[in-house]
Symmetry: D2
Subunit: 282 residues, 4 copies
Amino acid sequence: MHNLQTKDQKDMLVSRRYKAENTIIEVKGCEIGGNQVVVIAGPCAVENTEILKETAFKVRGSGAVMLRAGAFKPRTSPYSFQGLGEEGLKILHRIGEEMNMPVVTEVMDSEDIELVAKYADILQVGARNMHNFSLLRKLGQVKKPVLLKRGMIATIEEWLLAAEYILAAGNPNVILCERGIRSSEPWTRNTLDLAAAALAKQLSHLPVVVDPSHGTGVRSLVTPMAKAAIAAGIDGLMIEVHPQPDKALSDGDQSLTPKLFSQLLKELEPIARACGRSIKYS
Amino acid sequence: MHNLQTKDQKDMLVSRRYKAENTIIEVKGCEIGGNQVVVIAGPCAVENTEILKETAFKVRGSGAVMLRAGAFKPRTSPYSFQGLGEEGLKILHRIGEEMNMPVVTEVMDSEDIELVAKYADILQVGARNMHNFSLLRKLGQVKKPVLLKRGMIATIEEWLLAAEYILAAGNPNVILCERGIRSSEPWTRNTLDLAAAALAKQLSHLPVVVDPSHGTGVRSLVTPMAKAAIAAGIDGLMIEVHPQPDKALSDGDQSLTPKLFSQLLKELEPIARACGRSIKYS
Amino acid sequence: MHNLQTKDQKDMLVSRRYKAENTIIEVKGCEIGGNQVVVIAGPCAVENTEILKETAFKVRGSGAVMLRAGAFKPRTSPYSFQGLGEEGLKILHRIGEEMNMPVVTEVMDSEDIELVAKYADILQVGARNMHNFSLLRKLGQVKKPVLLKRGMIATIEEWLLAAEYILAAGNPNVILCERGIRSSEPWTRNTLDLAAAALAKQLSHLPVVVDPSHGTGVRSLVTPMAKAAIAAGIDGLMIEVHPQPDKALSDGDQSLTPKLFSQLLKELEPIARACGRSIKYS
Amino acid sequence: MHNLQTKDQKDMLVSRRYKAENTIIEVKGCEIGGNQVVVIAGPCAVENTEILKETAFKVRGSGAVMLRAGAFKPRTSPYSFQGLGEEGLKILHRIGEEMNMPVVTEVMDSEDIELVAKYADILQVGARNMHNFSLLRKLGQVKKPVLLKRGMIATIEEWLLAAEYILAAGNPNVILCERGIRSSEPWTRNTLDLAAAALAKQLSHLPVVVDPSHGTGVRSLVTPMAKAAIAAGIDGLMIEVHPQPDKALSDGDQSLTPKLFSQLLKELEPIARACGRSIKYS
């Protein structure tokens, strides 16, 4: 059934038929894709130093090992907050250094790759850019890992082929990220497709992480879906946390408070152990 | 956000605002909706006595407490196998008695309710009939529990309101079943929407079960999704098992062998325990 | 490409390979499927004699040749107006007789077929029942034409196979009706799939009509989509008209006023002629 | 209902409440958005000079006034034909000059804008880049018109807001292009959403064109959908034509032969006239 188009699956660089064992990606001493589940957390956007520092301090204390926050924000409307740009990258980089957390942030344009790579440890491709093949190709020439979100309506094959663009251009360090697909359900922002994450693990040797924050858009669903993702066998979680979600400049509805995040981590640990894994702590 | 239409949620019979505590449904000594997770298993269809008996014997041995199999099968083509009808109901009933397992089977037409209720312990409404309001209303007058599958593209609200039809007509014993929604992904038969199952648990007091067999349509995804469903907090699983999936008259691609089913149950137990629950055994 | 499953297309009763020429269905002197485009109009539901009579009088004056209105209404909530039932059927039948218009109305349950067939000239299967195979089979034994709406998310193949259920059971007089599929677009109620209607015409000899009222759910889109449907080559239109849409008990947002309906008919005529057809008038 | 987010619709540059009259965009003497319907045609990709020249000659003879062909091709797989790049742009530009046809071609990366703008008369943003906000912003600084395709699953609001990015950055000359949305229908490549095109015309003053080739992916549906689009009131069509579709390097299944294209144009003219418009000829 699951042939990847144009080539035999065994010839695809992303395929398990090409490379059977899991790819483990190492970022400043933190490994993704191995036996330990990695939790990446942080606010949707870098808003200012204080909020990011407070969030980083708290999520690190609860068990997150990497920090996420956007400096370039893809927003539906040109009149919405667009992110702090390079200023945001600098803040993120500084806090990451202080907290000893590798940082993940989005790059939206091939012209910005060099800039973002200067400050970030992992470069994120957002769902809206998964089909930006020009960006993917250029990320193939970068020496840093890429976290590739699945497109809003991308098939699993398209997602794996988007990763193939990066690998074929020379960068073997791609982390696949399931973040929900658009459906006709109005009560959730997206429909989190955990089966796609599990199938990606079966078909590809690349690490797979899940973003239950964007994947549901509903705070009360983040914890059950994070637990479900662990049970489904994924390698990491990316979770939005904000000290005051109601005042967040973006995505407040889906952000956990530091307290809820702390509780989540406590619930994840026994599930990881029940699956023969553990949560990576710093 | 989540107001159910036309009435305040607190007035809806299905709502947790109307009834805060979980509804626990008892079927021949087996409870659904309580602390123990219930596993329902069996072949897609009643094909003959031998296959059903063999399947029932094996799934019971591995931990299933209820038996499922269709006698009336909703098939896309009029030229496909349509099920054995009343003969199938009789076989199912007899095997259920022999194995001491309550049986679940689908009713497709309001004219058949009396017949199906004579042989079945739980009456299933299939995804294709979730919007068959006439059937739902008549099931409200039946004294047996109803397992209500979510429609192929039904919103969560429509699913809960379909249950409300049954409750409003007098039958409080409804089990909600998430079985995947149709999406544009070709590699899975449906997109299993575990967040919908989790949200249904939050909004309603009714028991929620998940069907990872129809929900994915891919044998290798049944186990990870069953584990994920437990971690997401659902009350039961409905899983297709066939002694020789390649020879099944329907749904062979998604059926587990008895051996895979047995392995699955072993993996579920520690996850249930990690979530403070357990698997119900007979 | 377009093989219908389980049988060669040439063996399918609905297929043009089985029967090349268009099926023309005659209802009380009015033909659907021939060179003349048929317009069916009326309110969503039979609300009372006065409103139906006024609507029928006006739509007939503007060019509608058949009258539509629901007596059994499939409603998402059990607490919404469910239709007048047999009383509604009687009113509809009487007004149809008085106006000399054949009447179309929905049957929701196989138990009601006999009742509905007593009063209606064409029996409608709604989108929510397209997969109610039991209902379809029993409609195969009825001597009156069936208007079969495409399901909310049904594929074209499933739609044609639903028609095959009716033909295979003995009733050759099926009219296919495209009424929009559910998508993630919030500004329209459904996504009207005119290409599906055009493809159904190519693959099947059955008449195809389009319902731009449900197909868009937006009054201002009914006229452009009705015109587009004619240009795409369909055989008829089904349009909701209500003398006071703001006071309609259901579907007011998508109902045309009699005045807008009259304007629409004037715009349709030249397009039909540009396509070598004409609008059927009584 | 139809409020555009974050600003009142009357403040949105794309909105009819901001500017009531149609925007008419003039490209080398050819106007889009006025009373005449414009037909843009050509092969999917620039394959070589001979094929493009032959196609351009034939489509111009049948009534096309603009030429389309891709030099940078967004392909799902990195191993598929990716287009001729600048060499393709040069060929396209030269043929356009010889035939006196303005040329439309896609720009996939903000780094290529200057290059593409050197050769193209209209810069196309493909469906996969509709959410590439960085590209959109930079196209706001270009002096040439932009043809903005709707994203694969974009809502109408997101599509209009993508146009707003371009207008807000300084370029008022945006042509909206509906090209089908992804659905679960396997028999068509996309679901052409003509109601979205009609609604875009109602809500915005910008010209709207329809691409029935990508919008259906099926050759036999291009003609009925092109006719339907005209009847729905759109301003132009973009149609794939290839002298030998079976040998095309991409999109052969949906390309018309020059002969079918010629027949199509003959069928369009009377429909345009029936709608009070005409087809623009050179």
